[in-house]
Structure formats: C-alpha cells, structure tokens
C-alpha cells in the first residue's frame, strides 16, 4: 500500500468492501483480480481450443460437410464445410486468442496477481486501482476481439462465409494493411483485431508497471531479493519484458490502424497492384518494418508466456521433491539471461523475409546462445529431483511434464535458430510443432500445475487427485502424439496455414494418414480437458476443505488461511528468516522450514 508502513507487529487492518460490485466486479483486491484474469483465460482457452478442433477436422478430412457446423456457424459455414477463408480466420483467431488472452494472462495476470503480493508478504499490489484498470482493459480487448470474429455480421460488404481477419496472428503487412481488397475479413476484421491488441498492450503495460514496483518496494521485513521464491523472479522478469516490448507492438498497431482508417501508408510500398487494380493512394511504406516491430515484441512475448511456468516449475519441483532448488542463484541468473537475450533474437523469425542476410547471422548466433540458460534450467531441475523423496501429487506430475515438454520443444529450436537449416523448415509444420510444444503446451502445463497447486489456497478446497492424474496422463501422451508428428510433416515440407495439403504430391502417401492420426490425438486430448473442468467445478463445491498448508510448503502464502482474508496477513507484517526452499534441513523437526520460522538454518542467500 502507498501509505507509510505501520510499526512492526502493529495491526493495521483493511476491511473488505461490502457491496457486490466493489467486491467482485470492480474490485481493487489483487486476489479477486487474479481470479478474474484466471477465468478470462479459462474462457479464452476453450474458445481457442474449439477453433483448433475445427481446424483439425478440416485438415484430416478436407472439404467434408459437417452437419453440426450448419447449426454452429450458419453464416460462416452455411453448407457445413470449412471454407479456405473460414479456415484462415480460425488460424488467426486461435493464435491471437491463445497467445494474448491465455498465455499472457493466466500465468502473469492470474497467478502473478494473486500470489506475488502474498509471496513477498504484502497486503496488495502497489497500485490497486491501476490493477483493476489493467484487468478491465484486458476484458474490453477480449470483447473487441470477439467482435472481430463476427466482422461479417457487422460489415455488410464482407464476403459471405468469413468470420474474421485471415492474416494470421502475426498480421503481416501488406496482407493486413490493404483492407478488404487483399482478402475477405481484412477490412473491418483487421481494424477490430488491431484495436483489441492495442487495448491489450496498454493493459499489459499497466500490469507490468505494477508488478515491478510491487516486487521491488513492498517486500516484507527480511524478504531480501535472494530469499524470493523463483516464481516472483519469473513474474518480475516477465513484467520487465512486457514493459519493454508491448509499447513497440502498440506503436506498430497504431500505425497499422492508421493505414486502415487514416489514409496513411506505413506498410504499403508504391506500385502495389492488388486484386486486378493498381493501388494509387499508397506509397512509401515498408513491408519489413511491420515484421521488425511485431517480432521485437513477438519474441520477448514467447518468454512472457513461458517464464512464469519456469518459475512455477522450479517452485513446485522443490516443494514436492522435499529438497532445496538446485542452484537457486544460477536459476535467477538464467531467468535474467533468457530475458535479456530474448530481446536480441527477434530476427530469427525473419531469416527468409528479405532482411539483410548479414544481420541474420548475428541473430542466429545469439539465438543459439539462449540455449545455454535454458540448458542450465533443465540441468538444475534434474539436480533438484536427484536424491529427492518425491511426492507425486497432481501439481508435481504436471511440473515434471513441463520439464519434459520444455526439453522437447526447446531442443527443436536448435534447428530453426540456424539460418541455413531454417531455410527448408521455415513456415512449415516443423515450426508449428516446435512453438506449440514450448510456448503452447509447456506453458499450459505450467498453468495446470499452478491451478492444481494453488486451487486449495484460492478456493479453500482440495482438487480431486484421481481426476487430476487421469487428466495428466491423457494430456501428456496426447500432446506428444499431436506435436511430435508435426515436426516430421514439416521436414517433409508441409507448409503451415494451408487449409488442405491434398494438392501437394511431394508430401507422399503417408502424409494424410499421419494428419488423421494427429487430428484424432487432438480430439482425445481436447476431450480430456473436460475432466479438468469437471474437477474444477466439483472441487469448488464438494472438494475436501484445505487447511492453511496442505502441501507442507514453505513460502508465505501457506502461512495464512485458505482462502486468505481481504488484506492477506490480517494487518500483520510477516517476518522472513529463510529462503523459500528449506526442505529436509538436517536436524530440523519437520522436513520443511517455513520462511517465517525463526529456527536457524542455512539457506541460499544467507
């Protein structure tokens, strides 16, 4: 809070607001805002997943009529088939919704908001009102994005059958800067899409400022920087990345918007001849400029999605291994290194873009250098588990799954990061498989782990372990069956963003059977997510009551009731004596030493 800290030990309570709207809708309580973000992401992830289901239907059975589609999408798929433009619109919306409204919101806005203040011993975020604004701007952004899906309903001139923009989540210019003449959905659809992203950028900026200030200024007595849980370091670094990268996307987005509604030409060069006509009114724009602006944001964004999962994995592995994190300092430095290097590699998305080939060499070498801190993390996770006494709870097995997926998804980047090897692989399914494993599924495993781990604290009840484990096994095997074969399809040369690969003879006879296999694996995996939803709902109402510290963990959130009171520590300021990973301390009474426990113990950072 902004006011002066009370003298240690003195009680300085904050009473919760009484009205429903102030308490649950326009709340300034970081815990309510965290839950709001988390539900927004949950809604978005199901929207995005249904879109992927439709795409997989089309890819495995191209052009087939689906009776249910006539009912589900009467405007976009009147005859029940997924048209090429509907397919591309699904590609665009699936990517945009997943990246912005799931991967960026749940780990940071959701868990970060809820647990950063508690883990550092604060009563709330530094700027609670800003926090509320940040969530509601994100909400507006989502609402506008949903409008973009129905662009053809709004825009009479749109071709029948289109559901939104078709330019992909990267919205490359000039396809996305030329308006409707470049393709259906590229007019009103793109305007709404880019407006939504601009709102999202502002929301993320506000959130980032708040996270950075909170972690630096509101740590409780004894919570030195090297006693912070690794989750906090990850959220902090993520916030720094967001603070430095979102403004660039915002600038790019505003320029793009002006190209649509302001008559400017930032991204369209002179002499364009589109759809049978010369574009007389546009000149002087640069096509590659958009890609630089986009990826200057886009690459740090990958780390914005994955870093919180990495922090959380370290935290959970240590907790259930009953062992200190192996190499705490190295872990912190590795997070910094990944964050820093992450700003100098955006060009590896652009090796074949026409960018200067000398520049590509620099980007390539720095890209492979990122493998080093990533390898440090993997090594330290294995080190944490070595000699452990693992408790195989659901959050733990999801974290183990995270490590496995992080290795699989990260390691394929070694191919793509090399300029020459990227030539045949760029824009093929190899890339699709790679980034889904690492920033998609690994990050989502982090979110699942976080949900199973913190649900008892957030809602006061335990989640069902049996359902959790079934959910894990199907999902873990499922995602491997979906994304590993995609690498092979990419090696064979299957271009991405194709609504059908049937026309390409060089792909050979085993391509379609493998595509069908991937689709079926996707359907099973998607169906298994219903187990998660059932578990959530059931546990929320019927789950066994969780005590203060059901996992026997050490960080500050486990010293207060579940769910925590409005001001977290009931007006007290906790005193911190140790680092967060004091498990199995020799001579200690229990196998975990709380951060607030005054008992002497050697710990990292002391």
């Amino acid at each position: 809070m902004a006011e002066a800290h009370p003298v240690h030990g003195e009680v300085h309570r904050h009473e919760p607001p009484s009205g429903f709207i102030r308490k649950w809708i326009f709340s300034v309580d970081h815990k309510v805002i965290g839950i709001q973000y988390w539900f927004l992401a949950l809604f978005s992830v199901f929207v995005g997943m249904i879109m992927s289901l439709l795409m997989r239907l089309q890819l495995a059975w191209p052009g087939r009529e689906w009776g249910f589609l006539k009912t589900l999408l009467p405007a976009a798929a009147e005859n029940g088939t997924i048209s090429p433009e509907l397919y591309l619109s699904l590609v665009t919306m699936h990517g945009t919704i997943m990246v912005f409204f799931v991967l960026t919101t749940a780990p940071q806005g959701g868990f970060g908001n809820y647990f950063l203040p508690i883990q550092i011993g604060a009563a709330d975020m530094a700027f609670p009102v800003l926090n509320m604004l940040s969530f509601w701007l994100t909400f507006v952004a989502l609402a506008v994005m949903m409008l973009a899906i129905f662009a053809n309903v709004i825009d009479d001139t749109a071709a029948v059958g289109v559901v939104g923009p078709i330019g992909g989540w990267t919205g490359y210019a000039p396809l996305s800067a030329l308006g409707e003449r470049a393709g259906p959905g590229q007019g009103t659809g793109v305007v709404l899409w880019i407006t939504s992203i601009a709102f999202f950028c502002v929301a993320s900026l506000l959130g980032a400022l708040n996270f950075i200030t909170t972690m630096l200024n509101l740590r409780t007595r004894g919570m030195s920087l090297l006693r912070l849980p690794l989750t906090c370091w990850a959220w902090f670094t993520t916030a720094v990345l967001a603070l430095l990268s979102f403004p660039v996307l915002l600038a790019g987005g505003v320029l793009m918007l002006f190209d649509h509604i302001g008559g400017t030409s930032f991204f369209v060069p002179a002499g364009s001849y589109v759809n049978g006509q010369l574009v007389m009114e546009k000149q002087g724009g640069s096509v590659i400029l958009w890609q630089h602006l986009f990826w200057y944001f886009g690459h740090p964004e990958v780390y914005i999605a994955i870093l919180p999962g990495m922090g959380l994995t370290s935290h959970i592995l240590s907790t259930f291994a009953r062992k200190p994190v192996f190499g705490y300092r190295a872990m912190v430095y590795a997070i910094f290194a990944i964050g820093l290097l992450g700003f100098f590699v955006w060009g590896h998305h652009m090796f074949q873009s026409g960018m200067d080939p000398n520049t590509a060499i620099v980007f390539s070498v720095i890209t492979l250098a990122i493998g080093v801190p990533s390898a440090i993390k993997t090594f330290n996770w294995l080190g944490t588990l070595w000699g452990a006494r693992i408790r195989f709870t659901t959050p733990m097995i999801f974290s183990i799954g995270f490590v496995s997926l992080f290795v699989s998804g990260g390691i394929t980047g070694i191919f793509l990061g090399q300029t020459a090897v990227d030539i045949p692989l760029h824009d093929t399914y190899f890339v699709v498989g790679h980034f889904h494993l690492i920033m998609g599924v690994a990050a989502i495993f982090g979110m699942f782990a976080g949900t199973y781990f913190w649900f008892p604290k957030m809602f006061g009840r335990m989640m069902n372990e049996t359902m959790g484990k079934i959910h894990f096994f199907i999902t873990f095997i499922g995602v491997n069956c979906i994304f590993m074969p995609m690498h092979i399809m990419g090696i064979a040369g299957a271009p991405r963003r194709y609504s059908s690969h049937e026309g390409l003879a060089y792909l050979g006879d085993s391509f379609m059977p493998m595509t069908k296999f991937v689709s079926i694996a996707a359907f099973v995996t998607i169906a298994a997510q219903l187990i998660f939803v059932v578990n959530l709902v059931w546990s929320w109402f019927k789950g066994p009551k969780a005590g203060e510290n059901p996992w026997e963990a050490t960080s500050l959130e486990w010293t207060i009731p579940s769910p925590p009171p409005h001001d977290n520590f009931a007006g007290h300021e906790p005193d911190v004596h140790h680092g967060p990973y004091e498990y199995s301390v020799p001579g200690a009474e229990k196998d975990y030493t709380m951060q607030t426990d005054p008992e002497r113990a050697k710990s990292a950072g002391d």
Binding site: V287, P324, G327, R329, I423, P424, H501, S584
Partner: protein, 286 residues
Amino acid sequence: MGKIIAVIMWLLVIGTVLLFVGQNVLFGDGRLWFPENISEIGATIDTQFSRTLVVVGIAFVLSQVALGYVVFRFGRRGQERAQYIHGSGKLEAIWTVATGVVFIVLAVMAQFIWAQVHLQEAGPNAVKVEVVAQQFQFNFHYPGADGVFGRTEPKFINDSSLNYVGLDPSDANGKDDVQTTTLVVPVGDPVDLTLRSKDVIHSLFIPALRFKQDTVPGLSIKMHFTANKAGKYEIPCAELCGQLHYNMRSFMLVLPKDDYRAMAAMSEEKFKERLTELLQQYPINR
C-alpha cells in the same frame, strides 16, 4: 506413480526416436522425410540438418531418460528425508560451458552454408529469371532470345491481357520476353533469380532444392541456385498470402541443357506450346 510416469516418458522417447529415425529404415519410400534433394547446396543443408539431428537427438534422449530415471528412483520412502543440497557451482559451470560450446559451434557452421546461399553471386553466365508473385500465382519472366529484359512498370500491369509483370509495350527489348507460370531452368547451370511481389508477401518454396525466399512488395531480392537433376518439381507458396494461399503453387521444370537452350530462343507463343507438352511429358518428382 513415479515408475508409471518414468515408463511412459521412456516409451514416448522410443516413439519419438522411431518417428525420426526408425520410419526411414522401416518404410523406405513411404517415409515422411525431406523430398529427394537435387542441388549441391541442398546437400550441405541436409548434412547440417543431420549433424544437428544427431547432437539434438543425443541431448533429447539423455535428458528425457535422465528425467525418467530421477522420477523412477527418487519417490517417497516413508519418513526418510531427501538430501539437503543447494547446488554445485562446478557441475553448473561444466554444463554451461559444454552446452554453450556445442550450440555456438552448430550456429557458426550453419553460417558458412548461409553465406554460400546469400552472400555469393550467381556468376556472370547464370540464367536470369525474374519472379513476380501475386495472389495466387507465381509469374516467371524470361528475357527471350536477346537476353535482355524489357522494362517493366506497375502501371503497365494488366492481368486480363496477361501482362502480369507489367512489360512496357513501347520497349523494344521486351518484344521477345516470355511470361509463364512455370519456372523453366537448365540442369547444372546456375540460375540467377530476382524476386518481387505485386501485392502481398509470398514465398517461393522449392523443397527439392531446399530453397525458400519470401517475395516482398517494394523489394527486389536476388537469389541463386543450381539444379542437378532433370524433372518436374512442385513450388508451393510458403507465406500466408490470403484466401487461396493453400492453392498457390507452380512447377519447376529442370530440363537438359539442349532442351533449355532451344526453348530460351523461342518466341513466347512457341515457348508456351513447348512448355505445355513438356509439363505433360514429365511426371512430378516426389
């Protein structure tokens, strides 16, 4: 529980290795892998890919097997406590330096191939072709018998009268120029491409050559390659360019030198007649 997870993890590793290595052995021609390579540079790219596959494959198998192993071995045993270790600076340093060296060496090796692709010229005797991409076709522009390209300008572009590249009708050099939607090149001679786009970004992807380059509105990008085997090869578009992106593809005809020379001297009409014949004659190389 730990043992089940470990076994599943190991099975997935075996499955992945089979997918990447085994299917090549098991299925022969039916395998899903790079299409047959027909260029020298493609062979070096394939070698670098294989080298990376070996390095990455070893790292992948080792780390997944190790993860399975610790999960298998270090499960809970009654009230027994875990080891109290905070890390090891020495192990950390060894690991960091080792991965750093391997990754950077790979990255540097790849740059030598990259330099051959991008930082060298095609040579003075190369066959010159201009590529002009548009929604949803690739146009290839040849200088004709005189070996000189006619002047082109956007204002002369007229799709309905088949002047896709915008040849200036008043330029004498352009009278014998040829525009097609098939890339025709000779076996064994270097080809010098200039790539442009009329509308949005496209990408000329020739899997058999391990060739890929975006065509960018406003830019003229120079590229070169040499094809070593006659045949008909597919050229899909690899950059999202709109509604019919999936349907945008051309063919590359690699012809014996004599056949090519004969065609290069033909008028546009004859060239296209001959091209139609040849396209029917050659099956698609897969």
